[in-house]
Amino acid sequence: MESVEKKAHTKINRSAKTQHRFFKTMKQQKYLYAMSVPFVLWVLVFNYVPLWGWTMAFQDFKPARSFMEQEWVGLANFTALFQDERFYLVLLNTLAMSIMGLAIGFVVPIIFAVFLNEVRVQTFKRTVQTVSYLPHFVSWVVVAGIVTKVLSTDGGIVNEMLMAAGFVNEPVQFMTKGEWFWMIVTLSDLWKEMGWNSIIFLAAMAGVDPQQYEAAKVDGASRLRQIWHITLPGIRPTILVVLILSIGHLITIGFEKQFLLGNPIVVDYAEVLDLYALNYGIGLGRFSYGTAIGIFNSLVSIVLLFLANGIFKRYTNQSVM
């Protein structure tokens, strides 16, 4: 009896103590806390307060009515969404293009970074790096114009070269082939973002301890061996973080590329979720419907993120959360 009481007593005591300690550290670090306040507020205001808008998805929202006057419709908007054939088509397009983008747009920058890292001449390395990330700053409107022009049947350079080399007899109509549209989007994206995406890997490589390379050299490892056993394992944590975060963004790929590169002939391959939400949600003044699509997007993203994170945690013991 007594011992139990004593135990309980010490427990209370301890928790009081930890609480005490918490406030003590807080007091000690008050400036640090104060400095973090604006950012916490930022997140609250811009990321959490707008979540209130999700209520729209369960209403038949009309802008002219106040919140109390809105009509609640339950899951009707979601039912309508899941019953629309077009929704599944655009979902397929979205996932196809983002998975292709992830597969290619993730691997190539790593390879590119590795190659660049092996270059000995600093000036050359710097120049290539700068030149390769410049397209990142070009807007999609311009890129789409360039791509359309390059692939044009009317004097486009690709067709000119194919004809000169004798591969084809008449110009190939790249932009009218629906089945090629995903690839065109993926490759244009690769061209635009490859250099930019490789920066983070280059930075990670700069952090690898040079002594490891020296030791490997002494052991007689070739350049390829060094890449395989030192460079790549050295940037593994970076690769994982980037990969997990991109998986979380799989479904939210925006629509600029598809909108600007698309045309009526390839629309069945070009329309993506965000464009669908714009045309059939906001575009028609169906704010509730648009919000329902947004919620669907967010939920899928969260699930994907946790899934990816869980898998990596299990097999590699590394995670972002």
């Binding site: 802008p63 002939i265 059939y280």
Partner: protein
């Protein structure tokens, strides 16, 4: 520290208010009229290539008189995305030209009723609309005036706006053949293209169409109306007897028209990039002078024609012909619609001073304002001789040939924001408000044009067309400017069918001729499953309502 907190909490408050409130309507009439300079923000769903930042002489003059400065935003997407976003955020410009999206704004309570404002402050606006004032009313249920239509009132058309266009050199080289049916049009293009496989070293293009976003309706689908003798009523054909609406692709005549386009493609006369190119590429291509034929409106290719003219390639500019599918149809370009009403300018609830805004529009619509927008400033752009306004030859030449004339002088820069009289209407001194007169139009022709026209034994392009008097007046105006109510099934079906059209029409035109019928059948089936029959019924209802409202 204290202010910091206040600021932070203000941000939170704002965030909350934005998400919760969405919209609050103020009573416009209670706002007071201000004096002194004022700036109004304005959103227009149409681009304005000649905007002068209100710095040109004419705009400066307007600014001096009204003390109003306009800060505009011109959209390139027809307002289709911007306007719904405005509604979602509840932030509107003071003045807005929403084109087809006014219904959404009215539905959101964003536009103020202008009836009383016009009654009290805008005698000129009232005068300009005259007998058509009834046509401004919104609907049978809501007789408010939200939009002041900006199309020209009592306009006499001296130039065709729609038609099949051929380079002058084509008809010239072929000895001015009759261009009356699509077969004539096709033969002319084929013959010329065979003789001239390249122009300026680049391959000749037979016929180029445009399908960039909404423009697919202008260059690809609307001409199907005209070519089959029906006036453009948007996506619906309105039976003049019964007022029944039919989605126009469902008319058998139009299938024949699209079959002809399919045939053009099979013959290699259609530009391979027709449905891929963007608007700027289309214009650039025409401006290069190697596109022989176009099926379009004057305003869509206007920039390219001006560019050709400036480059001195007058024989590469295009003439407009009243081509129809067969001779049994008459090209209805000049059919009278009465005053159209519809698209125009509205004042939003955000506007601090609606009285000043309406007075500004009223000034533009006044005799002084209209002369300013049409003729310019006296002594600078025109002179008065014997009580008549006269434009010198030099100035006229500049007006016709300088592509930036509007921007430099400001003449006409603001004319799209208020209702003005159309061509042929006369002012208090008996002279026309606009400078356009048949003589002025003929004077503006290039020598090449005059030569072509004289060989067809006419004076003006208009003379090639069936005249206004040959058609009955359409009592419903034009159906394309009817506002579809936001959030209705009709709106959803329209969007769905438009998506079907955008996909299936290019598919049908590019299909192998043997497969055309199959593609067309699936096109029809798609329209039906999108709910087109219900849309037709709803539209018929709307036409009948409009007729009642306008009586």
């Amino acid at each position: 520290m204290k202010t910091k907190w206040r600021k932070a909490s203000a941000v939170i408050m704002m965030g909350t208010m934005l998400t919760v409130a969405g919209c609050q309507s103020d009573n416009a009439a209670t706002k007071e009229e201000t004096t002194g300079p004022v700036t109004f923000s304005l959103f227009s769903a149409d681009p304005h290539s000649q905007w002068d930042n209100m710095e040109s002489p004419v705009s400066q003059k307007v600014k001096e008189t009204t003390e109003v400065t306009i800060e505009p935003e011109f959209d390139v997407g027809g307002g289709e995305q911007k306007i719904p976003l405005m509604i979602a955020s509840g932030e509107y410009p003071d003045l807005i030209l929403p084109k087809g999206n006014a219904g959404k704004l009215v539905d959101a309570g964003a536009l103020i009723d202008l009836t009383d404002l016009i009654e009290e402050h805008a005698p000129n606006l009232k005068k300009v609309y005259g007998d058509y004032f009834n046509r401004l009313k919104w609907s049978g249920e809501d007789e408010s005036i939200y939009i002041l239509p900006t199309s020209r009132v009592d306009h006499t058309y001296w130039a065709p706006g729609n038609g099949f266009m051929l380079q002058h050199d084509v008809v010239k080289q072929l000895g001015y053949p009759e261009i009356r049916t699509v077969d004539d049009f096709e033969n002319a293009i084929r013959e010329y293209k065979e003789k001239n496989p390249t122009i300026d070293g680049q391959p000749t293009i037979g016929l180029s169409l445009l399908a960039d976003d909404w423009r697919i309706m202008i260059s690809t689908t609307n001409p199907a109306f005209y070519a089959t003798g029906a006036p453009d009523d948007g996506e619906f054909y309105i039976d003049p007897e019964t007022y029944e609406a039919t989605m126009h692709y469902r008319r058998p005549e139009e299938k024949a028209y699209f079959k002809w386009l399919n045939h053009m493609n099979a013959e290699g006369l259609l530009d391979q990039e027709s449905f891929v190119q963007k608007y700027d590429q289309y214009l650039a291509k025409i401006s290069s002078g190697r596109v022989l034929g176009l099926i379009d409106t004057d305003w869509e290719v206007g920039d390219a024609q001006r560019a050709l003219r400036e480059a001195g390639k007058t024989e590469r500019m295009h003439g407009m012909y009243p081509v129809t599918l067969t001779e049994e149809y008459k090209h209805p370009n000049f059919q009278d619609t009465g005053y159209l009403g519809g698209w125009g300018i509205g004042i939003t609830t955000e506007c601090e001073d609606p009285v000043r805004a309406i007075k500004f529009l009223d000034y533009l619509a006044s005799e002084e304002g209209q002369i300013l927008q049409n003729w310019g400033i006296e002594g600078e752009h025109y002179t008065i001789e014997d009580g008549k306004r006269v434009i010198s030859d030099e100035e006229m030449n500049e007006r016709n040939n300088n592509a930036n004339y509007v921007k430099n002088t400001g003449i006409g820069v603001l004319s799209g924001f208020a209702p003005l009289y159309g061509d042929g209407v006369t002012d208090s001194t008996g002279q026309t408000y606009s400078i356009a007169s048949p003589d002025q139009i003929i004077n503006a022709y290039t020598d090449t044009e005059k030569e072509v026209l004289s060989n067809y034994n006419v004076e003006m392009w208009k003379d090639l067309y069936p005249q206004k008097e040959e058609f009955p007046v359409k009592p419903w105006g034009a159906a394309y400017n009817m506002q579809v109510e936001a959030g209705t099934d009709l709106e959803l079906i329209m969007q769905k069918s438009l998506d079907v059209v955008k996909k299936r029409i290019p598919e049908a035109i590019l299909a192998d001729p043997s497969e055309f019928d199959d593609v067309w059948d699936s096109f029809m089936a798609d329209l039906e499953s999108a709910g087109v029959e219900q849309a037709e019924a709803d539209y018929t209802e709307m036409i009948k309502d409009r007729l009642e409202l306008w009586e």
